[in-house]
Each structure stands twice: as structure tokens, then as C-alpha cells.
């Protein structure tokens, strides 16, 4: 088995090894949410509750049970893939995630990839011209980009493209057609690109600087190979690992926090808003659901990254 499908075997071993990690995540999250999240009772109780009604509510949401019993019940439900229902709205958590996660991905991934691509190129240019005017210009612009708040980018782009020019809607979300999606995703994508460009350029510049000082690259230059061949056959394979790691780590982070500001300002029903509202109201099933799904995605992403890195660079497998 191992010899015939080494890739699948590796993935299976990694996923199996992730189970204790996921269990640990549920334990810690459940502990933190139980003792430190806002008490949802006060969201549910209405304006004029009696002490008896509060007690009844506590009993209904299992607050009257012991912590181990609640955690055990939660694990049992989780084993049936039952994430429960939101305490506040009553909607099923899996339904909330099912409708909001694809929106966040459709919203953020274009900006992530386009921004990553631009940053890769800009970082490469800066690294190739280290210390020269172009490098200084790119580094200065990236420092400027890092120092501007995301909210400023949001307000500015909304004002320019939606209010002054009127080219794009100021808020809303639709994927009914490609046109609709482009209409609603363009300004947020621009913002994601602008907001992350500074950080990404600095990261990729450092990465390229390290890459171009590799002995293999120096040897290739000594042989007089053309620049595009060095880039294609030496630099890119070397850089695939860091690039994939950075990209794959971004996706689960998006699920937890990355898109909150953009979703809020543009009225986009993504998972950032779902998570934020759940934290504010102490909606424990939703908080747990988002964290666990993000953890699973992170583990899957890590497995994918390591497997892909080995596929791209077989030396890692040997190591």
C-alpha cells in the first residue's frame, strides 16, 4: 500500500494524526467559550425576565449541567456531524456555515490570489534590484501600504467607486451571474489587494532574496542560463514551499477573521459576520462550529501543503 500509493498513505497518516489535535481544539474552545464568552442568557431573556424564567432558560441551554456533561454531549453531537442550532436565531449552525463560507471564499480568494501574484512579481523585482532605486521605491510603497488601515482603504474605495463614480454598488452581494459577481467582488478585491500588498511584498522580497543566493542559482548564472530559465527551473520550485504555505494558511484565517471588516462595510453575508455576531452574543454553538470548521480546514490545508511541497520538491520527501 505504502509503495503503491505513497501520497495517499501520507495524507491518511496526517489526517489520522490530526484527530487528537481536533479534539484538543474542541476542548480548549469549549472551555474558553463556557467560561469567558458573554452569557447568552441576557440576549435571550427579553426585557423583563423573572428569576424563574432565567433559570428555565439556563436549563434549556444546558447551563445547569456540569461542564464535563456538557462537553460530552457536545462531542457526541459532533460525532454525528451535528453542530447544533444557534442559540440566538435558532438557525442550524451547519446551515449558517453552508451559506456563509462559500460567500467568504468567493469574496476573498480573488483578492488573495491576485494580490499574491502582484506581490510575487513586485517582490521579485525588488529582490533583483536590491539596494537600487526600484527596490527602494517598492519597499517604500509597501511600507506605506502597511501603515494604512484596512478601514481607510474600505472607506476610500467605497467613496470613489460607489459614491463618486457610481460604477459599483456600495454594498450587497450576488452570484446570480458572472456579471453580478464581478460587480460585487471588484471593489472588495481591490481593497484586499491594496491592504495586503505591503505585507506580501515584504515577505516575498525576503523570500526571493534568499532564493537568488542559493548555490544552484549562482551556478546557473555562472553557466550563463537565461533569466527566465533560472526563474522557471530553479527559483520557482524552491519558492513553491513558502508560497503555498502562505496561501494555504491564509484560507482558514479568512474563515475566522480576515473578511470581517470588508463584509461589514459592504454588507456581504460571509462567515466573518457570522462569527463576530456569535462572539458578541455568546452564541456558543456558532462559535464552536466556526472554530472547529476552521481548524479542520487548517489541518487539511497543512496536509495539502506538505504533500504538494513534496510533490514539487522530491528532496523533502527523502528528508
Amino acid at each position: 500500500m505504502k509503495a503503491r500509493h505513497p501520497f495517499l498513505g501520507l495524507v491518511a497518516r496526517r489526517l489520522l494524526g490530526a484527530l487528537p489535535l481536533i479534539l484538543g481544539v474542541t476542548f480548549l474552545t469549549f472551555l474558553l467559550v463556557t467560561y469567558f464568552a458573554p452569557d447568552p442568557i441576557w440576549e435571550l431573556a427579553g426585557r423583563n425576565p423573572t428569576a424563574a424564567e432565567l433559570t428555565e432558560l439556563q436549563s434549556q441551554i444546558e447551563q445547569s449541567q456540569s461542564w464535563p456533561a456538557r462537553y460530552f454531549n457536545y462531542l457526541m453531537a459532533l460525532s454525528r456531524f451535528d453542530l447544533g442550532h444557534s442559540l440566538i436565531s435558532g438557525e442550524s449552525v451547519s446551515g449558517m456555515l453552508g451559506r456563509s463560507v462559500p460567500v467568504t471564499l468567493a469574496l476573498m480568494l480573488p483578492g488573495l490570489f491576485i494580490g499574491g501574484l502582484i506581490a510575487l512579481c513586485a517582490g521579485y523585482l525588488a529582490a533583483r534590484t536590491e539596494g537600487q532605486a526600484l527596490d527602494r521605491l517598492i519597499s517604500s510603497l509597501s511600507a506605506l501600504g502597511m501603515s494604512v488601515s484596512l478601514v481607510i482603504f474600505v472607506m476610500l474605495c467605497q467613496l470613489v467607486f460607489s459614491v463618486w463614480l457610481g460604477w459599483f454598488p456600495a454594498r450587497g452581494w450576488s452570484t446570480e451571474s458572472l456579471y453580478d459577481w464581478l460587480l460585487h467582488v471588484s471593489v472588495p478585491t481591490l481593497i484586499v489587494v491594496l491592504a495586503n500588498l505591503g505585507y506580501n511584498v515584504r515577505f516575498f522580497r525576503s523570500m526571493w532574496l534568499e532564493a537568488i543566493t542559493q548555490p544552484a542559482v549562482r551556478s546557473a548564472r555562472a553557466f550563463g542560463l537565461p533569466e527566465w530559465r533560472i526563474l522557471t527551473y530553479r527559483l520557482l520550485p524552491w519558492a513553491c514551499g513558502p508560497i503555498l504555505t502562505r496561501l494555504c494558511f491564509s484560507v482558514p484565517m479568512l474563515l475566522l477573521s480576515g473578511s470581517l471588516v470588508i463584509e461589514s462595510y459592504f454588507g456581504i453575508p460571509g462567515v466573518g459576520r457570522v462569527f463576530y455576531n456569535a462572539i458578541l452574543s455568546g452564541d456558543q454553538p456558532v462559535i464552536l462550529g466556526v472554530v472547529i470548521v476552521a481548524s479542520v480546514v487548517l489541518i487539511l490545508a497543512l496536509t495539502l501543503v506538505e504533500s504538494l511541497a513534496q510533490w514539487v520538491d522530491p528532496r523533502q520527501q527523502r528528508q
Binding site: T50, E56, Q60, S89, G90, G172, Y179, G267
Partner: protein
């Protein structure tokens, strides 16, 4: 190089064609009349049983029917029949209300009904919708509206907790279903404000089938008999379309309180004599950020209305006294300023003997004098300037000027830190004996600024700064928990009325409502409680008004709170929308009367 260029060109052309196709298909699907409303927060649930927020109270009446509602334009607010055919027939002793339903009322079409067609609304639906508030499975936040009022509700015990109580199994003495269209409500004692409670969003009528079918998700998949039908609901917006089963005849604008001098400029006369609702599609956007709300309003396809955030008031107002909008605003938009149906005040924890109730009469008086002195040290005009674009109205007690029982003779204390200092000193307090005060507030910049202003006012009145501390709570729900646990001594509260009767505000000090109920100050006064109960049973007449005023005077004399202030709401809306917006008492009841002038829009 050349093939790559061709591939790129081809891809771009394909993209352009796709984009073009999308652009072509867009107008064909667009409904004719669309109104885009905007709220500064989102309701978590649209189940009437959980309609405790301002946001839910706007949306719930658009989806559901209530027996009574408030007239669209009449001010002061007046009740009018909604789902009920007429006002009730009330027995001589005021204990029985017989209400006949409008036979035209039908629930909107939904798969939960037989054949997917909405059925007629019956008296049993109304009775069940009230009774379910007392079923623990409902987790209602509104049972207090009828607690100890309607006979038999307290007996409801649902054996199968977690599932809704079946409609044919309950037999409540106080909710007598006479026939399909007639309901008789039997009260334990006279309760003239019952009709107001039957106009609240929480009293809306729900079909049992939908509650059973959707279970806990009924709050996000509501089915009602109101003017609109919900088709989409999430954290960012609610999308509704006209309920084709809704038929309540035509608009009688005069009966709705139309006054040409006040309302003609908004074009609402165009809806007179026509059947409603007028818009095909209602989109309610939830935008918490003031800047984003403003941008959405000013963009071409954004919101049609905005409630102006205080920080932007300077852009639309040319004068504060009297309130005047600048020329650009008037030229571009309709504008309206109205007082909120509520107020803000500083509550005091009277359970803390250091500043509140005390068993020793002398200390009781001394504490009261200190509270009064603190109240006198607050600069409400500065609060209005800083936080409420300078147009808040300070008034004493809890009966604001918008209510008929407001007492014009009762004047607010003037801001006078020197007199405040003299007052606490005269009561025997010294710098060493003044109690430590903990001010609790929700985390946030503005909430922090409120604390700083309070502290500055108290320091100006001689209060030692080190004895004024803040405790910050991450959320409002946490603050409520802290208040009810007695963790804070002073707190800023906003109170929004669900119906325009002073009883709704005075209940904040009714002894049996003490925390965890709405009496967060834990005010205990047997005389106040007796008078409050007596006033509750009186019909709406001079005697009740006099009692309300006496109760309000009692609150002021005992310095139970430091307050209060009514804020002014400024609404701007686009000129092609014909309406008079109201997010206060009328709330969502104004939405069926909104009309869009398509020619003006184009």
C-alpha cells in the same frame, strides 16, 4: 509570443461577452417598485416571541399581522385595527374583550400549508400565538406583557419541552375562541393598555404549522399574514416581496391622520384610496457602520433612506435652533426630524446601601441628597452637543414630552456644579465619607467618552476623582448581567417604548420588576407600587394621567435616576420615495404605505 497574445485576447473577449450577457439579463428580472430601507443593526430572529430589539420590531410587522397597529401619520400616536375588524367590545367591568377578526386575512403561501396555499387566519391562531409566549419551548422574551393579566396563561406547562405546544390541546380560560373569527380575552383585572400590547410586534400572529415545521429555525424562516413575505434573511439584509394574499382594502389617508400641512410635501397623498402595499420588493439592509450607511445612501443603487449619524449632522443642518436643513439637503432629499420614542438616563443601583436604600432613615435621606446632588452636577446640554448633534431635549423623570401624560410644569434641574457641591456638603457628606462609585459601560469609544464626561461633571461638583471608577463589559448583554448582579453603581441606559403610554416607562421602577427584571435600579417603594397598580386599571382619562404624573414626580423627588434626555432622529430619504418614515412607535407598520415614484426615480 504571438499565440500567447491571441489566447489572452480570446479570454478577455469571452469575459466581456459573459459580462455583457449578465448585464443584459439584469433588468429583466428586476421588479418594478423596490424600496431599500436601512437599519443600524440586525435582528437575530424574526420570531415575534423574540422580537425584543428595535430592528426586529421594524421587520416583524412587515411579515406578520397584529390585532391592532398604530395609524401611519397620526401624532400623538393612535391605535387602529389591524388584523381585528374593529375595536373590541369591552365588558362593563373592563375584564372581557371580544375581538372579531378580519375575514380576509390569510397567511402567505408556504409549503407548510396544505397544497402550499396560505390558509385563513383564525381566532385560534391568535389565541395560540399569545399562549405560546408562556410555553418554555418558545423561549419567549415577551411573556411579561401579559403575565398576571390574562387568566390561565401561567398554567401552561408543556410536558414535551422543546417542541411547540399543539394548538388544539390547550384550553386557556382567558383566551376563549368563540368561533373561527371571534376571540374573547378574559382578564384577571382591568388592563386598559391591553390594546397597546396587542399592537406590539411580540403579539404578532403566527401559524402553528410553520412553527412546528421549522422548529427553532422559524425565526429565520418566518411565515405570517402581513403585507410582505420574507424570501431571504441573513446578517446583512432581509429581502421581502409583496404578500399576494394580503388584502385589507384601500388606504384611507384621512383616517391614518393625514395633515396636508405636515405631510403633503412628502407626496403621500398619492396613495389615498389605493390598495396596499405598493412596493413589489422591500430590501432592508443592516449596516452598523455610520460611514457605510452614509455611503450606501449617497450611492445610486444604495439605501433609499438613512437615519443620520450624529457626526454627519453638520453636513445637512444649517441651524440647530430651530432645526433647519441646509439648501443642498432639501434640494436632494426629503428630510424629517422627530423625537425618539424613548430616552437615555443614568441609573443608580439603589441596592447598594452606600448610595441607595438604607434601613436607617437619616442615612436614607443623606443618600437621597447625594443622588440628587449628583444629578444636579450633570451637564445634559454638553451631552447633547457631544453625542446627539446638539438637539437632544433634557427632561426630568421618565415621561418625555411626546406622551400625553408629560407634565409641562415639571422643569428639569439646571446644571449647577457649585449648588450640587453645596447640597452634598449640607447633607453631611465629606470628601472622606463620599462613597466609591463604579460606573459600568459596554466597551466602545463613545461609551468611554460618556464615562469621561460623567467623571468630569462629578469632579466639577467636588467629587474626588479617585472615587469614580469604570468597569468595562465586552458586550451589552454582559453589562446587563453586571447591572443585575449589582456589580455597578451607576450606568447609562437607553429605553425605547414599545407603546406610547407612560406605564411602559414607569414600570422601570415597579418593585416586582426588580432585577433581573427591568427595574435595574431596584427601586422599592410600596406607595409607588400601589399607585402604579391602581393607575394600570384606570381607563385612559384624566385620573390616570394625574397618577402617572404623581409617580413621575416621586421618581424625581427620590432621585432614583439621573436624567433624562430624548434624542432627535434625523431621517433623510430619496425624493422618489413617497413616505413618512417612523422607526419609533409606528415602526414596521409604515412599510406597507411606502410608495415609489418610478418616473421620479428615473
Amino acid at each position: 509570443m504571438r499565440p500567447r497574445f491571441e489566447v489572452m485576447t480570446g479570454a478577455l473577449l469571452l469575459l466581456a461577452v459573459l459580462v455583457g450577457c449578465g448585464a443584459e439579463s439584469q433588468p429583466l428580472e428586476s421588479p418594478k417598485k423596490v424600496y431599500r430601507h436601512v437599519l443600524d443593526g440586525a435582528p437575530a430572529s424574526l420570531d415575534p416571541a423574540q422580537a425584543n430589539s428595535t430592528y426586529a420590531r421594524l421587520l416583524v410587522p412587515a411579515i406578520f399581522d397584529t390585532l391592532y397597529r398604530y395609524k401611519y401619520l397620526a401624532r400623538p400616536y393612535e391605535l387602529t385595527p389591524g388584523l381585528a375588524l374593529d375595536f373590541p367590545v369591552v365588558s362593563g367591568d373592563g375584564l372581557t374583550y371580544e375581538i372579531e377578526l378580519d375575514p380576509r386575512a390569510r397567511f402567505s403561501d408556504s409549503p407548510v400549508f396544505e397544497g402550499g396555499r396560505g390558509r385563513a387566519v383564525t381566532a385560534r391562531d391568535v389565541a395560540w400565538s399569545i399562549a405560546r409566549h408562556f410555553d418554555p419551548a418558545t423561549r419567549s422574551g415577551a411573556s411579561w406583557l401579559w403575565r398576571d393579566r390574562i387568566i390561565g396563561l401561567e398554567r401552561i406547562v408543556n410536558a414535551e419541552s422543546g417542541t411547540p405546544m399543539p394548538p388544539d390541546s390547550f384550553d386557556i380560560d382567558g383566551l376563549e375562541v368563540v368561533d373561527a373569527n371571534t376571540l374573547r380575552i378574559h382578564l384577571r383585572k382591568p388592563f386598559p393598555t391591553l390594546l397597546h400590547t396587542l399592537a406590539t410586534a411580540q403579539s404578532a400572529v403566527v401559524p402553528y404549522e410553520a412553527v412546528l415545521a421549522f422548529g427553532p429555525e422559524f425565526g429565520v424562516r418566518p411565515v405570517g399574514s402581513g403585507p410582505f413575505r420574507l424570501i431571504e434573511f441573513d446578517e446583512t439584509r432581509a429581502l421581502l416581496v409583496k404578500n399576494e394574499n394580503f388584502d385589507r382594502g384601500v388606504v384611507d389617508l384621512a383616517a391614518e391622520g393625514f395633515d396636508p400641512a405636515q405631510h403633503a410635501e412628502f407626496g403621500v397623498q398619492a396613495i389615498d384610496g389605493k390598495s396596499y402595499p405598493f412596493i413589489d420588493r422591500l430590501e432592508v439592509q443592516f449596516i452598523a457602520q455610520a460611514g457605510a450607511r452614509w455611503n450606501s445612501f449617497r450611492s445610486r443603487q444604495g439605501a433609499d433612506i438613512v437615519m443620520l449619524p450624529p457626526e454627519l449632522a453638520g453636513q445637512v443642518l444649517s441651524k440647530l435652533q430651530p432645526l433647519t436643513f441646509n439648501q443642498e439637503t432639501v434640494a436632494d432629499y426629503h428630510a424629517l426630524a422627530t423625537p425618539e420614542a424613548g430616552f437615555v438616563y443614568y441609573g443608580i443601583n439603589l441596592a447598594n446601601q452606600a448610595i441607595g436604600n438604607h434601613p436607617e432613615p437619616e442615612r436614607q435621606v443623606k443618600n437621597r441628597e447625594l443622588r440628587c446632588a449628583l444629578g444636579q452636577s450633570l451637564n445634559w446640554q454638553a451631552r447633547a452637543d457631544q453625542f446627539y448633534h446638539g438637539i437632544g431635549e433634557h427632561f426630568p423623570g421618565v415621561i418625555p414630552p411626546m406622551l400625553p401624560s408629560w407634565d409641562p410644569a415639571l422643569q428639569p434641574q439646571s446644571f449647577d456644579p457649585e449648588r450640587a457641591k453645596a447640597r452634598w456638603q449640607a447633607a453631611g457628606w465629606t470628601l472622606d465619607s463620599l462613597p466609591h462609585l463604579i460606573y459600568g459601560h459596554q466597551a466602545g469609544v463613545q461609551q468611554g467618552q460618556h464615562f469621561e464626561m460623567l467623571r468630569a461633571n462629578l469632579i466639577a461638583a467636588g467629587y474626588p476623582p479617585e472615587r469614580i471608577q469604570q468597569r468595562v463589559y465586552p458586550t451589552f448583554a454582559d453589562l446587563l448581567r453586571g447591572i443585575n448582579a449589582g456589580e455597578v453603581d451607576v450606568f447609562l441606559m437607553g429605553w425605547t417604548m414599545a407603546y406610547p403610554d407612560a406605564q411602559y416607562n414607569l414600570q422601570l421602577f415597579y418593585g416586582p420588576n426588580a432585577a433581573p427584571g427591568v427595574n435595574s435600579s431596584r427601586y422599592q417603594n410600596a406607595r409607588f407600587d400601589r399607585t402604579f397598580e391602581h393607575a394600570l386599571g384606570l381607563p385612559d382619562q384624566a385620573e390616570r394621567v394625574a397618577l402617572y404624573r404623581a409617580l413621575n414626580q416621586q421618581i424625581v423627588d427620590d432621585c432614583v435616576i439621573m436624567g433624562s434626555m430624548v434624542r432627535t432622529r434625523i431621517h433623510l430619504w430619496k425624493r422618489h420615495v413617497r413616505m413618512v418614515p417612523d422607526r419609533e412607535i409606528v415602526g414596521g407598520f409604515f412599510l406597507p404605505f411606502v410608495d415609489v415614484d418610478l418616473s421620479a426615480q428615473q
